[in-house]
Structures are given as C-alpha cells and as structure tokens.
C-alpha cells in the first residue's frame, strides 16, 4: 500500500501524472461497485488494471469516461477535474474508450464506424495510417460493422479512436476471446502506440499479455486498488499476483 499513497511524491519526481484518479466511487443503480479507486498514469505510460472478474476494472474505465450513472471522487486529466462532466466533454478533453463489448454500430458500415468519432484534438492518425496498422479493415470497408470477425471488430474499435487525436486511450480487454495470432497483433499495436506517445490504461485478465506491453500494473479487488507493481517487479511478485487473480 505504501506504493500507492505517495501519488504526489511520484508526481514530483517525474512530472504531474496525465491521469490522476483519486478516491473514485461508482454505482450501478443501487449497488456500490467502486470504493475509492486511486491510481495515476503518467504521460506516455501504458498501465494495466489487473483483477478478477467483477473486481471493478471495467467499471473504473466507465467511471473515468463518464458513462457510469453515478460516480464521485476525483478524476483529473491533464490537471483538469473531470468528475462532474458529461461523457461528451470528457471525450472532447482527449480521453477515448474502446469498450469491452467493442461498441461497433451494426447499422453503420466499417468505413462509417471508422469515421464516426469526431476529431477532438489535432494530430490524430490519418485513415491511411490506421489501414497501415490494421490492413484487414481496408478490405472490409463497405461491410456492415457487425459482419466482421471478433478480431476485426477489435481492430475497428481501436482504429476509430486513433483518428480522434485523443492521446489517452482506455482499452477494455482488447484481447478477450481472440486467437493468439490476433492477440500478438494487438500487442504489437499497443507497443507501437506507446512509441508514438499515446498514454494507455489497459484492462486485462491475461497478465502474461499485460506484462509484455505495460510499464506498470495496478491490482483491483472489490472496487479498490490493492497493490501495484512495475513490469520489472512482476517476476518477484508472481506468487502474490497469482493469489490476487486466483490463477
């Protein structure tokens, strides 16, 4: 826990975090799901939220994005408080989400899905760069969004938020249910995005995958962050992590 509290100390060492989540509480209707989630992400970092099913990882991303009905606490992005803002304002500030269920619109073609999110900041990828990243998409442009394979849908869901110019990406289990070869491709994509300066919060069940792409890891349990490691520390803490994740 000592690793967690000194958010500001870390900040003073390496500059203020791009995303600082503090005491985040969240509800699904009546049920209180998040109990004070606290973590931070520095610019250019890839950070994962690890944890069992139902620990509150997806809910944390939804609460950051402002699509959770009720939430409180503090989410500071680039120094600006986001907690009271509607999701559209949070998107406009430069945070983009790729949800677990991918959120591809079935009544829109692949191309329409890709071009749907408006540009919120300058400097987003061009459509050509996205095709370079995911060549499969280019061949399927006029297909309806939901006629794609799971992997292609995932690429579309990631691809379309790269156009927006948002530099902070929230990726919710991008590898879930995908074939190993696609998982590798997603992994390479995340590495490439990191190199290009994107800041990424990744929710993962698969910590082997997580350890290959991320700098740091937060363990979420029952709606709280209970531990944190860097990728280098992962080896020493493998037993502890296995116990947390129940694997």
């Amino acid at each position: 826990m000592a690793e967690l509290a000194p958010t500001r100390d870390k900040g003073s060492r390496t500059g203020t975090p791009l995303l600082a989540v503090e005491g985040l509480e969240g509800w699904y209707g009546e049920s209180h799901v998040l109990h004070g989630v606290t973590f931070d992400v520095r610019e250019g970092e890839v950070v994962t939220l690890l944890g069992r099913n139902g620990a509150g990882k997806t809910t944390t991303l939804k609460a950051i994005m402002g699509v959770l009905g009720q939430r409180s606490g503090s989410v500071k992005f680039d120094g600006q408080e986001m907690i009271g803002l509607p999701s559209r304002a949070i998107a406009r500030a430069g945070i983009a989400i790729c949800p677990e269920e991918r959120g591809i619109f079935s009544s829109l073609s692949v191309e329409e899905n890709l071009l749907l999110p408006p540009q919120v900041k300058p400097g987003g990828m061009t459509v050509e760069q996205i095709y370079e990243l995911f060549p499969n998409l280019k061949e399927r442009l006029s297909s309806p969004g939901t006629k794609l394979s799971g992997g292609e849908q995932q690429m579309l869901a990631i691809g379309r938020i790269l156009r927006t110019g948002s530099k902070m990406l929230l990726l919710d289990e991008p590898t879930e249910g995908l074939a190993p070869v696609i998982v590798k491709q997603i992994g390479r994509t995340i590495a490439k995005l990191k190199k290009e300066g994107f800041t990424i919060v990744l929710v993962e069940q698969n910590f082997h995958f997580a350890s290959t792409v991320a700098d740091r890891h937060y363990v979420v349990e029952q709606g709280e962050v209970i531990d944190t490691f860097t990728s280098e520390e992962l080896e020493q803490n493998l037993d502890k992590l296995r116990a947390y994740l129940g694997v």
């Binding site: 509607p86 559209r88 983009a96 949800p99 079935s106 829109l108 999110p117 927006t164």
Partner: protein
C-alpha cells in the same frame, strides 16, 4: 376494360391520383413519426396537431403579415419545428427514462390542447387558403383532369421524403443518427452531444409534419381537426410499415394511399376501413411490420 367493369376511366384515374396524393401525405407524416420514434423512443401523438399547426401558421402568416405561400412553405416548418424543439427540451426530455406510455400520454395531451385552443379561437368550419397563382389550373390528360397544385404537392412531398432518406442513410450526419439510434451512450463517449441531437431530430420530424400541413392547406381547408382525422390513419401506416424504418414508411405510405384510392373505385364502402383491415392482417402475419426490424 374500364367499361366492362362499369368504371369510367375518369373515376378510376381520378381516385388513383387522389390515392397517390393522400399516400404522399401519409408517407411524409409517417416518416416524421418513424424518425422521432427511432431516435427518441417517443410515440409522437402530437404529430397530427403539428401538421395542422403548419397549415395554421401558413394561414396566419398570410392573414396577419401578408406573407404568401412560398415563404410559408419555408417559414411555417421552421416556426413549428422550433416550437417542437422547445417542447422537447422542456417536457419530452424529462420522459426518456420512463415507459413509452408516458410520452404517448404527454404528446396526446399536447395535441388536445393545441386543437382545443385553435378551435376556440377559429372555430371548426375551416379557413380558406388559396392555391398560389403559379399553380392554379390543371392539365387535361385526356382521360382525366389533373389539378396542377395537387400534382405539385404530391411530388414535393415525395421529394422531401427521398431527400430525408438520403440524409439519414447516406450522409455523415445520418450516420450519427443511426449510431444514436443504436447506442446513444457509446456515441456520447465519442464526444457527440446526444441530447442536442435528440432535440434537433424532434424539431426536424415536427418540421416535416408542418411542411406537409402547408402543402395540404390549399387542398383541404385549414381547420383545427385536420390533423386528428389524419393521424389515426398515419399511425396505422406506421404500424404496417414497421416502426423506425425510413424507406418502409415512404413505401407503405404511398402504397396504402393507392390501395385506399383503388378501394374507392371498386368498393367505396370499404375505403375508410381498408387500411385498418390491412393493419390487422399485417399484425397477424408479421407483427414487426412489413419493413420493421424484429426487436
């Protein structure tokens, strides 16, 4: 052929033409209802009253301000559309999280208020609104006489329907509408102002109704009940075509207008119920409507 059936071609084509004109009105009105239902999930029972209001605004523009038909065709839909947007912001938007029934009750109540107020002020005998001078007269087609204005009204109504279809199915703005229809939360998370889209969509649907009202003003007299009579048929059209289908609304509206016209020729007694009979049959065979998506 017509003689052997005991029907004169004048009557046959006359009714068919009337059916085509009525059908184009059904199409534009059911289209507006479909768009509003598709995006807002509100069954807009005020639609008929908003159509009537379009005709009344056109009449008022002329009677009080001396503004004629052509400007009214542009101004009345804008005025009624803006009024609709205010109603959406102030009243309808409070009902989105509730059952359909609440929206239906609210809009039904609004329709009664609108009709009541105008009935009180202008009576029910109907106010005359003359055909613009450019469109008076008609064409003698040999087998029938076709009034220019009616032809114009039907063609313009259909052109507006097709333009609307194009807007929704083929443009970027339409892409937002379809996406909002499917998953408004996700669209909001991309930075789109979904509540504002709902307001504008309601305004647009209402403006379509008002536009139809202005087109109808020179054909039917301007009267507070003109929408109430029509809206019941239009709801039947929407049920037959399937809620939320754009092209379905257009085809069904036009087709049913023609069917109604033909029934007047063949068996006039049935003409006022034929649409409801078709509705019952469609509901039995394909409950989601001819073009509707099964939910």
């Amino acid at each position: 052929m017509f003689e052997s059936l005991g029907i004169s071609p004048q009557v046959f084509f006359g009714q068919l033409m009337l059916g085509f004109i009525n059908g184009s009105f059904y199409a534009i009105l059911s289209l507006g209802l479909s768009i509003i239902f598709g995006l807002l999930n509100i069954i807009n029972f005020t639609h008929g009253a908003q159509y009537m209001l379009g005709a009344f605004v056109a009449w008022m523009l002329l009677a009080y301000l001396g503004i004629g038909y052509w400007w009214a065709l542009l101004l009345a839909p804008i005025i009624v559309g803006v009024l609709g947007m205010i109603v959406e912001r102030v009243l309808i938007s409070r009902l989105y999280h509730l059952d359909h029934l609440y929206g239906l009750l609210l809009t039904f109540g609004l329709a009664l208020i609108l009709q009541g107020v105008l009935r009180n002020a202008y009576g029910v005998s109907g106010l005359p609104y003359s055909v613009p001078p450019q469109l008076t007269g008609g064409q003698n087609l040999g087998f029938m006489y076709l009034p220019n204005y009616r032809m114009w009204a039907a063609i313009v109504a259909l052109a507006v329907c097709l333009a609307t279809w194009f807007l929704i199915e083929k443009t970027r703005l339409g892409g937002y509408l379809r996406a909002a229809n499917e998953d408004p939360v996700m669209l909001g998370a991309f930075g789109i102002n979904v509540p504002r889209m709902l307001t504008l969509t309601y305004g647009f649907g209402v403006a379509l109704a008002a536009f139809a009202g202005v087109l109808a003003a020179p054909i039917y007299s301007v009267n507070p009940n003109m929408g109430a009579d029509l809206i019941i048929i239009v709801f039947a059209v929407v049920v037959i075509g399937g809620m939320g289908s754009i092209l379905g609304s257009i085809f069904t509206g036009l087709g049913l207008g023609l069917v109604e016209g033909l029934t007047k020729v063949v068996y006039p007694e049935a003409s006022s119920v034929v649409i409801f009979v078709i509705m019952a049959i469609v509901l039995l065979i394909k409950p989601a409507g001819l073009f509707g998506r099964t939910v």
